[in-house]
């Protein structure tokens, strides 16, 4: 077995970063498809290094370690140091694993794009940034990665920036995230002022002694504010649906599998702080549960294939928040992992469909794609069953674990459990609705569209992700708590939420969750496996409610009226009122004053020597008179 010193872990970040730099300068010259292969190779190399380095954790011999790359700001405990423990190892494997598949898929998906190489530059840069985030050994380096992934998200959402909608979606994502980052920065400052350091070990070892009163709650809430922005929870989720303007592989990688889970990761990483702040944890759980339900209802009303998945992602992230808020950190990270598999799969399959439909995303125009694209049909079917929580696929195990832990917390968490259960039903409903609308029934394709199966580079990642979506859940089942043992070193000293003890109760809870999934799926099947007129009638049966769902409850309009319009008016007032009139007026006024004074006293400077002499003489006489009158002192 190769023994990899942890000092070599910087290679995990260096490979994609090097790839990004190389592609930035030589991408155009490398061209298509070489640039794509190179980026994929960089990502795979990072995966290989991470896999080898993670082996000790799998065999149970590994210990969490820190390796210092270089001193940055030693005074605040902020250096470039890599923290290698089971949690960061798992995140690294998910990011590089799913990331590599999406890189390969993109080679086919981005075929023929004029900025093919630039796309892979961004993709590699994103991978490097995300790895910086998860491998950071302190909050400062985490924040560097946190902001870098935000930048990459912006660049990739507005990748097709000639479309005004894409350009403004990128801006929206950036601005909305900034609101959360504000809270995150406050949390970092509070941590530093309390502990005098930002390093994980320094903070977590002394958290129990030094945090008292409301301090952990406030720090926890501020960290959660950052997480809410990044992970698209209420009230900052509005950027994620718009982020679908980016190319579909981007939606899969950044806005489903990796970046948006950074908020969940941060909360799990800060478990020792949340341990001391039950109020903050409760807020996180409540936000998660409400977001899960809220976004799931909106997903039902969408007809754009990617928007359904976007709201589904928000909803699933809500589950993860619910889990980490209920101190079920392992369950949260578990769902993060399985969600990365099946949501990446769903997005890539949706991308394959969009590719086949010539860029169309409206599910009303699809239908009957089963025969035309058999691989996409089967793999997306696997993803739909997985997210619906039907055993033994991945989504069942992780979702069931979350729900049973939340139930076991008792008290008002029982209400959150109920919300989670309803959401499970809705999840199955909207996913099967999408599946039926896209693949089953009669074709409703517009003229001139002849769908075809996607190239090999796109279908192979689909198949691999489908296998992971089937088997990924088996790493942590009630029979074999593999992941929980694996992650144990990362949550040392943290009380973890657990499912109920009794086997009977566990089975009842699981049966309820599966039942919700099956009922939702069956409802969708019977409602939508009919001619379009029939399901339109079904939809109109909901009355006004359906309009609200279709419109996403009008939240965007409300934000527009409450925040954006007043903000724009304020900017206009400052720009055209305050700046142009007051500030410019003051500057121009000073200039005018100088000119006017000059005009006034200019004639004195006549250039006539004799006139100067006359003044001089008169001055002399005046002085003389003065002296004569006053007398010489």
């Amino acid at each position: 077995m190769i023994e990899l010193p942890t000092e070599a872990l910087w290679l995990v970040i260096a490979f994609p970063l090097g790839g990004a730099l190389l592609l930035h300068f030589a991408g155009r010259w490398l061209g298509e498809p070489l640039a794509g292969y190179l980026a994929s190779a960089a990502s795979l190399a990072a995966l290989a290094v991470a896999a080898v380095a993670a082996v000790p954790f799998f065999t149970g011999e590994g210990h969490p370690s820190q390796s210092l790359l270089w001193e940055w700001m030693p005074a605040v405990g902020a250096s470039f140091e890599i923290s290698w423990d089971p949690l960061s190892a798992l995140m690294t494997l998910v990011v590089t694993g799913v990331g590599s598949l999406i890189h390969i898929y993109s080679v086919g998906y981005m075929h023929g794009d004029p900025r093919f190489a630039r796309f892979f530059t961004y993709l590699n840069l994103f991978t490097a940034s995300m790895l910086t985030l998860v491998l950071a050994g302190n909050y400062a380096m985490l924040f560097v990665g946190w902001e870098l992934v935000g930048l990459c998200s912006y660049l990739l959402i507005s990748f097709w920036f000639t479309r005004p909608s894409a350009a403004s979606a990128g801006k929206k994502a950036f601005v909305v995230n900034r609101i959360g980052d504000f809270g995150f920065l406050i949390a970092l400052m509070l941590i530093f002022s309390t502990f005098g350091t930002l390093s994980y070990t320094g903070v977590f070892d002394r958290a129990a002694q030094e945090l008292s009163g409301w301090a952990p709650t406030i720090i926890g809430l501020m960290l959660a504010a950052g997480a809410v922005g990044k992970s698209a929870q209420i009230p900052l989720y509005v950027w994620l649906p718009d982020a679908m303007e980016g190319p579909t592989p981007v939606s899969a990688l950044i806005h489903a599998a990796t970046m948006v889970t950074a908020g969940v990761y941060v909360i799990a990483r800060s478990a020792p702080i949340f341990e001391l702040a039950p109020v903050a944890s409760g807020v996180v759980a409540a936000v998660g549960a409400i977001t899960a339900l809220w976004a799931a209802t909106i997903a039902i009303g969408q007809s754009d294939i990617k928007r359904v998945l976007a709201y589904s992602t928000i909803s699933q992230l809500g589950y993860m928040f619910l889990a980490v808020g209920a101190t079920a950190y392992v369950a949260g990270v578990f769902h993060l992992m399985t969600h990365a598999f099946f949501k990446a799969l769903l997005f890539l399959a949706a991308g394959s469909v969009i590719h086949a439909m010539g860029g169309r995303q409206d599910m009303e125009e699809m239908g009957g794609l089963r025969k035309a694209m058999p691989v996409t049909f089967v793999t997306m079917g696997v993803g739909v069953v997985a997210i619906a929580g039907i055993p033994p696929l991945a989504g069942f195990w992780s979702k069931d674990e979350i729900l049973s832990v939340v139930f076991n917390q008792g008290g008002w968490y029982t209400a959150l459990w109920l919300i989670g259960l309803i959401t499970a039903l809705l999840t199955a409903f909207y996913m099967f609705r999408q599946f039926v609308m896209v693949f089953l029934g009669k074709p409703r394709w517009p003229e001139g569209v002849t769908p075809h199966e996607s190239p090999r580079s796109m279908t192979v990642p689909l198949v691999i992700l489908a296998i992971l979506s089937v088997a990924g859940g088996l790493v942590n089942t009630p029979f074999r708590l593999g992941l929980e043992h694996f992650l144990e070193p990362s949550f040392e000293g943290v009380r973890l939420g657990h499912p109920p003890e009794g086997v009977g109760l566990v089975l009842v809870l699981a049966a309820l969750a599966v039942g919700a999934g099956v009922v939702g799926a069956a409802m969708a099947f019977f409602a939508y496996h009919r001619p379009p007129e029939a399901w339109r009638r079904f939809q109109s049966g909901f009355g006004k409610l359906w309009g609200w769902w279709e419109n996403a409850y009008g939240v965007d309009d409300a934000y527009g009226a409450m925040l954006v319009t007043p903000g724009r008016r304020l900017s206009e007032q400052t720009a055209f009122g305050v700046d142009m009139k007051v500030v410019d007026g003051a500057v121009n006024g000073v200039a005018w004053l100088v000119q006017a004074t000059g005009r006034l006293i200019r004639p004195a400077q006549s250039g006539l020597v004799r006139q100067y002499g006359l003044w001089f003489g008169l001055g002399l006489v005046a002085l003389l008179i003065w002296i004569l009158v006053r007398g010489v002192a």
Binding site: R602, P603, A604, Q605, S606, G607, L608, V609, R610, G613, L614, G617
Partner: protein, 102 residues
């Protein structure tokens, strides 16, 4: 016998000074203005000498020597400038040399 008191000298000096000042102010020719300036200088010299003699000290006469030396130097520079201007502009009228008007 008529006594010549320092007041007489002062009156004469004042008259000469005003004569010179008037010349500087009313004449346009730079050369004539220069001569008027010399007249003013010598009016002052007269006061020095008279005051020195009245006080019975040599300080007044010493001051006059300084004034003479400075006046000589001034004439050297001034005349050179006037000649240079005349060669270039063919005039010595100070009213035409008003390029510095604001």
């Amino acid at each position: 016998m008529l006594e010549v008191t320092p007041g007489w000298y002062m009156t004469l000096a004042a008259a000469l000074f005003v004569l010179g000042l008037t010349g500087v102010l009313v004449r346009r020719n730079a050369l004539v203005m220069f001569m008027s300036v010399e007249l003013m200088l010598n009016a002052v010299n007269l006061t020095f000498v008279a005051a020195g003699r009245a006080a019975g000290v040599l300080d007044g006469q010493v001051a006059v020597f300084f004034v003479l030396v400075v006046a000589a130097a001034e004439v050297v520079v001034g005349l050179a400038i006037i000649v240079a201007i005349f060669r270039r502009r063919e005039t010595a009228s100070v009213d035409e040399l008003a390029a510095l008007r604001g």
